[in-house]
């Protein structure tokens, strides 16, 4: 599967998004602002995670009318979210022709045991992960891009950092193990041996590895990219801030110049208020989005 033309094309689009910012948008007007600011892609959804968190209720795939308007408005790739396990929502998004589907823990899960069998689709998928085992299981199911989950809608970077550090550390550890040890690791990670061996040989995931969930400032972008993220997803962080246009431009600049402190200083100046943010440690387990998916 990993060398098939279809899988290479799925990964290929993810490669094109590297060094870029994928912005959550809920309307065509927001999509226009994101594109104007230099977003590499937009993610269409019904409500940004901070609002899902506040308002509660069942969060589903966005309205088809809105996704279509967004696709007609911007020339950059358009992604949309489907609920975990909801392969029928995913089929609708594929029929609509979106460029990427995010099987996302931000929406209310539709299946508490099974993720979508993503290999069956021609449209590429991105999935969230908190650790290497979770990432490799998603790739085995056909995901062509992984994003660390973080804690969506929190405006707090701590979980995105935890997840990126965890995945990178677990990958590093595999590179020093012998073949028989990898078999045991495969069991512990609950991931296919073939993928565990690939990571051990290459020290990275076989698909691009992006970061999401809690990014609110240019410095947050720089932090996760230093830790190994190849691009970032920003949800509530932009359209829940005081000046979305300016913040969107600053976040884009930070993704390019994440290793250049003077450019980051420029990006961080005169931004207005960031989104309010939540202390993840005070959230009850039942309100965490990251624990959805397995």
């Amino acid at each position: 599967m990993y060398l098939s033309d279809q899988f290479r094309l799925k990964i290929g689009l993810a490669e094109m998004l590297k060094g870029g910012v994928i912005m959550d948008v809920t309307t065509a007007a927001q999509a226009r602002i994101a594109e104007e600011a230099g977003a590499a892609a937009v993610m269409a959804l019904e409500r940004v995670p901070a609002d899902i968190r506040k308002e509660g209720g069942v969060a589903r795939m966005a309205s088809i009318r809105v996704i279509r308007e967004i696709m007609d408005t911007v020339s950059i790739p358009v992604m949309a979210k489907a609920r975990i396990g909801h392969f029928a929502e995913a089929r609708v998004l594929e029929a609509l022709g979106v460029d990427y589907i995010d099987e996302s823990e931000v929406l209310t899960p539709a299946d508490e045991e099974h993720h979508i069998h993503k290999r069956d689709f021609q449209t590429p998928f991105v999935c969230g992960a908190r650790n290497l085992g979770e990432a490799l299981r998603r790739i085995a199911e056909g995901a062509a891009m992984i994003r660390t989950k973080g804690e969506a809608g929190s405006g707090n970077i701590v979980e995105a950092v935890r997840h990126m550090r965890t995945i990178v550390k677990e990958m590093k550890q595999l590179t020093v193990l012998g073949k028989e040890e990898l078999v045991h690791e495969s069991k512990k990670l609950a991931a296919p041996l073939e993928l565990v061996e690939w990571v051990a040989a290459n020290g990275k995931l076989p698909v691009p590895n992006f970061s999401a969930g809690g990014i609110a400032t240019p410095a947050d972008v720089s932090l996760v990219m230093h830790l190994g993220a190849e691009a970032v997803f920003v949800g509530s962080g932009i359209f829940k801030s005081e000046d979305p246009e300016r913040r969107a431009r600053a976040i884009v600049k930070a993704a390019t110049y994440y290793a250049d402190p003077l450019k980051l200083l420029e990006a961080s100046s005169d931004l207005g208020e960031a989104m309010r943010g939540l202390d993840v440690a005070t959230l009850p387990e039942s309100e965490l989005l990251q624990t959805r998916g397995w």
Partner: protein
Amino acid sequence: MKTVGVLALQGDFDAHRRALERVGACALEVRTAIEMDHCDGLVLPGGESTTMLKLLAQENLFEPLRRFGHTRPIYGSCAGAILLARTVAGPAQKSLNLLDISVERNAYGRQLDSRIARIPTAEHGEIEAVFIRAPIIRRVGDSVSIVAMYDGDPVWAEQGPHMVTTFHPELTSDSCVHRRFMDKL
């Protein structure tokens, strides 16, 4: 050893860096005009041309890049080809006008229309061409020469020191495109 920069504002610059190293170049990621000055040639990678344009304008890199093209070779793949073109449609946007071609963005359609094709070339035999939300070259000027065609459209073209492909050789193990670019330096 020739130093080749890869414009690293956004996109698959890392894949180009590795492809350049495979053909013996010293590859350098370029994000500033000063870094550009160190290069004998430059590669504009695949990615989102709109994102690259915003950053080129915002960081005052557009004119330095155009001036670079007046003295040294540039190769653009996909989004890079869009940046190098004379005119761009679908929608219209600014470009460097270093190659006399007109391109239409996303002209095959969306991601579901992305494809891998095996196409014949006169000089390099059959090559594997990876098209991802690719543009189509709708017009080439008289002084542009075509290296490869796919489905009736030019997909690999050159003019003077500059070269474009609408596909992504950096996503394959075939180095003939990058080698041809090295020969121009």
